[in-house]
């Protein structure tokens, strides 16, 4: 349990800083020499792994051979089990994440522009924020059983507060001069909301969604490890129960790849939704 919790918090902080430092919409162009170093460094670690296990420096009880991991991945892929698990986890993440966005984005905007709403919500936000999503497992199991609803609820509970905080922060950071200018040009409250506040907060909200998506993934995995028949978390837990470390590693690798792909997809969506951000000078 405690291991899962600390795992979740590292995902959170690592993703959080990297995404906050990277300016949205700016393409990262890497010099070929640096790319070569990255490739070499990966190959070095793989080689080290290979020799360490082949030569018996490390017992296979602690670290399986790379070949075993590849074989395990191929077997699970061929049987369709791996894709099914990926799809189950993805489904739970997307449902819980979407639900969290639908609730937290409008709520965050209202809290940012209307002080009484913020005052009413603040105590609950302060109380709920420190709770890791796994602490919701006992209650959600009692309320919702161990079906899909419970997994989605865990993702929701672990995600919505972050989306809320990002939305409040980015809505508050809108230049008040722009709101003045809009009113001066005859904008009503509704127009100010649609033409100034929403587009003004959007870059920050999208940045927040990207960070939160990784958090949602760690939520679903912890929920699946505790009680689920399928999904990547269950796959990893099965591997552990059967003493099949290769399967555990396959599961972990899949998580990394899926989250990376989701991040790339989010980057593409971001560029599409925020064409003006490309031109912002730093």
């Amino acid at each position: 349990m405690s291991q899962i919790a600390s795992n979740e918090s590292t995902v959170l902080s690592a993703e959080g800083t990297s995404d906050l430092l990277a300016r949205p919409g700016r393409r990262r162009s890497r010099k070929p020499a640096l790319l070569l170093i990255s490739v070499l460094s990966v190959m070095l670690v793989l080689a080290l792994w290979y020799f360490a296990t082949e030569r018996g420096w490390v017992s296979p009880v602690f670290l399986p051979k790379p070949g075993r991991v590849v074989a395990e991945a191929i077997a699970n892929f061929a049987s369709g089990q791996l894709l099914k698990d990926i799809w189950m986890s993805t489904q739970r993440v997307l449902l819980g994440f979407a639900l969290a966005g639908v609730v937290a984005i409008p709520l965050g905007i209202v809290m940012a522009v209307w002080a009484p709403a913020k005052a009413a919500m603040d105590p609950f936000v302060s109380l709920l924020r420190p709770l890791p999503s796994i602490t919701w497992i006992p209650l959600t199991m009692l309320w919702l059983g161990i079906g899909e609803g419970q997994k989605v609820a865990i993702v929701f509970m672990g995600s919505w507060i972050y989306i809320l905080l990002y939305t409040i922060e980015s809505t508050k950071r809108i230049d008040p001069l722009l709101i003045r200018a809009a009113r001066n040009l005859g904008a009503s409250d509704l127009h100010v909301m649609l033409h100034v506040i929403l587009p003004g907060a959007l870059p920050g909200i999208i940045a927040g969604l990207k960070v939160t998506l990784a958090i949602s993934w760690s939520c679903v995995l912890s929920a699946e490890m505790i009680a689920a028949q399928n999904g990547l978390g269950a796959l990893i837990w099965q591997g552990k129960d059967w003493g099949n470390l290769a399967l555990v590693l396959v599961g972990m690798l899949c998580i990394s790849v899926v989250v990376l792909l989701a991040d790339k997809l989010a980057d593409m969506l971001e560029r599409l939704l925020l064409p003006w951000e490309r031109h912002q000078r730093s």
Binding site: R183, N184, L185, G186, H279
Partner: protein, 267 residues
């Protein structure tokens, strides 16, 4: 030919509370009238309450005492008939040049085709044709300020309030913008209230010139600017210009010195 006043301030005082129990009187018992079609420059050192006056005419803030009037009616809420040009442009970064210029027309509920047509005319007027689909961040400061002028003119307010609009521009761009503003004023005959702390800018632009005293803001002198119109930058070499400039400087010098020593004492 004296036009009726379009804007008026009657015994306007504006005080801000700064910290606990400390009051800062930005404007003190100010009264003046601005006639329709005039280009009035408010000239004064920093901190003389110039921006406060504009903010009250735009309805962004209300006077502590007295009243500001548009065509004889008190301004009590944000007043779109008094359009504001901000020093920092305040363009919507997520809208293209066309989207920005169309904004006021959209608020009025004009159809897409009408908006396009009217926006195109104003974009042409400020010489930004070909930049319709650019975002503000892609434009230079001078171009951005031209977009705000087109955006405001398209919204068709009765008064243009300009708060040091060219202060952030380099000297040469500023001169070009001043001439363009004179042309726009010539064409539209709109009333313009223009804030500046540059005597040259005030002399080139204004038909009347209010010299303000340092805080609390009061009008120290009203000068009818009788430099020939239509005006060109070359007016600056005429002897008449030199006389007027030294007259204004004599009025304002003591205020600037007072402001400088006060700021020094407060630090």
């Amino acid at each position: 030919m004296v036009n009726p006043p379009i804007l008026a301030a009657r015994n306007v005082t504006k005080a801000f509370t700064t910290g606990k129990d400390r009051e800062l009187v930005a404007v003190d018992d100010l009264s003046f009238e601005i006639r329709e079609g005039e280009l009035v420059c408010l000239l004064g050192a920093s901190g003389c309450g110039k921006s406060t006056i504009l903010n009250m005419f735009a309805g962004f803030t209300q006077p502590t005492a007295g009243e500001v009037l548009l065509r004889g009616r008190p301004i009590v809420a944000v007043e779109p008939r008094c359009g504001m040009i901000f020093q920092s442009y305040a363009l919507f970064p997520w809208k293209t040049v066309r989207g920005n210029v169309e904004f006021g027309l959209r608020m009025k509920g004009l159809s897409r085709a009408e908006r396009r047509e009217r926006a195109a005319a104003f974009i042409q007027m400020v010489s930004l044709r070909g930049f319709e689909d650019h975002y503000p961040a892609e434009l230079s400061g001078g171009m951005q300020q031209r977009v705000t002028i087109a955006r405001l003119l398209a919204a068709d307010p009765e008064v243009l309030l300009m708060d040091e609009p060219f202060a952030a521009l380099d000297a040469m761009t500023r001169q070009v913008m001043q001439e363009e503003l004179l042309k726009i004023h010539e064409q539209s005959r709109k009333t313009i209230v223009f804030i500046t702390h540059s005597i040259d800018e005030a002399l080139i632009l204004s038909s009347r010139l209010f010299v303000m005293s340092a805080r609390p803001g009061r009008i120290k002198a009203v000068i009818e600017n009788d430099l020939p119109t239509p005006r060109h930058i070359t007016v600056q070499v005429s002897p008449q210009y030199g006389e007027l400039k030294s007259r204004v400087w004599n009025l304002i010098e003591s205020e600037v010195r007072r402001h400088v020593t006060e700021t020094a004492r407060n630090q």
